[in-house]
């Protein structure tokens, strides 16, 4: 380890664990092997706190808190699984499925989708809300990539990775409420966005089938959100070749 950071003790599901100072509950708990689902959070990007899937209970507080946005404090007691948490997470997922046009059976990401996996994890066997069936137009103007807003959950991973890691800031969220949508360069077709460097980081980090490579058919898309953490570490530690990459 390059830097020695101060550690503090806290409790996750009755187990005492340590956290680095300034670490979020989500980071520390996951580092110790606890499972907390999240869709907008990606290691290496800023915290957005939008999906509300990572909610946990803090002892003696009667509200659910997003684990990604709560900093660990000494002796904090965190509960990662309870009836209330499960109910909340399932409701969040049902709302996400009802809001867009997520048709797993014909999606490029079928079988490798974080939204689909999250639904499995919380036991969502059906959606109790009315499907909204919004009208959303696919943008296939980019030579390499496609944006299908029908499958977008507004997690803003693409917005953040483009701004924070690539430094291009092609993407933004325009509109409010149910009209909120992903836009390239203030509303241009992606293919006309001159600031896009074609780096593909947005596509790599997308949790669903909303951003994908041209020409991919049903179930053929694979994303790579771990790439962000790898890049951040490489820049920090000046280690550009992953250990073991040339072992074969």
């Amino acid at each position: 380890m390059r830097e020695r950071r101060k550690t503090i003790e806290f409790v996750v599901d009755d187990t005492e664990v340590d956290a680095y100072e300034g670490e979020s509950v989500l980071q520390a708990a996951r580092r110790h092997g606890f499972t907390i689902p999240a869709l907008c959070y990606v290691e290496g990007l800023s915290v957005w706190g939008a999906c509300r899937l990572c909610v946990v209970e803090l002892a003696e507080q009667h509200q659910l808190r997003p684990a990604c946005a709560v900093t660990v404090e000494e002796d904090m007691e965190v509960i990662t699984d309870s009836e209330a948490i499960r109910r909340h997470r399932r409701t969040v997922l049902e709302l996400l499925f009802a809001e867009g046009n997520h048709v797993c059976a014909v999606c490029v990401s079928n079988g490798a989708c974080e939204l689909q996996d999250a639904a499995v994890a919380v036991g969502m066997d059906h959606v109790r809300f009315d499907y909204q069936a919004p009208v959303r137009t696919i943008d296939a103007s980019h030579p390499k990539y496609v944006s299908d807003p029908n499958r977008c959950i507004l997690c803003t991973r693409c917005v953040r990775v483009c701004d924070e890691i690539e430094g291009a800031h092609v993407w933004d969220i325009a509109g409010r409420g149910r009209g909120a949508r992903l836009v390239a360069e203030m509303g241009k077709p992606w293919g006309e966005a001159m600031s896009c460097t074609w780096c593909g980081k947005c596509v790599a980090t997308c949790p669903t089938g909303a951003l994908f490579y041209q020409g991919r058919a049903v179930g053929e898309m694979r994303h790579e959100p771990d790439m962000v953490a790898r890049l951040v570490a490489a820049r920090r530690d000046h280690q550009w070749i992953a250990p073991g990459a040339h072992d074969e």
Binding site: A105, V106, Q116, V120, G123, D125, H126, Y131
Partner: protein
């Protein structure tokens, strides 16, 4: 359970893939035949949904007036109803017309605009049932007891659900058994 179970399978707005997956249960179909009587199904020639059905598997979304009528009829006559596959559970591919709005506009697109010659919307009511304004999941129009997602649900998943239902249990599947798509 000593009495034979009265089993029905129904095909609403779907591709019949769920029924194909049902037939994919292979030898288990013999075991099933030992314990249940199939009293209504698209693979047999029965016109009216019968009374006193114990278990009904419903494939497909509710897309037209026929689907809606049959859904209500089968609910009234079935002790247990299973939403069988993604179209019944969520609308799925069948519901992909919903964002396009008015069914008439869709019929025009399919039967007039996309046709090279002699196009025209089939107008033989009541033989061709009218489309509903929106395609709906089954649980939007009737009460559903068990949800069995998947496009189609794999045969082993159907088998475990049907086995539990034969024993009188209501399977509450978890984990991979509830995967959509």
């Amino acid at each position: 359970m000593s009495e034979r179970l009265r089993l029905a399978t129904v095909w609403l707005g779907g591709c019949s893939g769920c029924h194909m997956s049902f037939l994919d249960m292979d030898e288990f179909l013999f075991d099933l035949a030992d314990r249940a009587d199939l009293v209504y199904s698209p693979i047999m020639d029965v016109k009216e949904f019968p009374e006193g059905v114990d278990l009904t598997l419903v494939e497909g979304a509710v897309a037209n007036r026929d689907n809606l009528e049959l859904a209500r009829d089968l609910r009234a006559k079935s002790a247990r109803v299973v939403s069988f596959g993604d179209c019944a559970v969520s609308g799925n591919v069948t519901a992909m017309r919903n964002p396009l709005g008015d069914p008439l506009a869709i019929l025009e697109r399919v039967y007039v605009d996309a046709v090279d010659r002699d196009g025209g919307i089939p107008d033989v009511a009541p033989i061709v049932p009218g489309l509903l304004a929106q395609v709906l999941p089954l649980h939007n129009v009737i009460d559903v007891d068990v949800y069995l997602p998947g496009c189609p649900p794999p045969a082993d998943r159907i088998r475990s659900a049907v086995t539990a239902l034969l024993e009188g249990a209501l399977p509450r599947d978890r984990g991979e058994d509830i995967r959509f798509g």
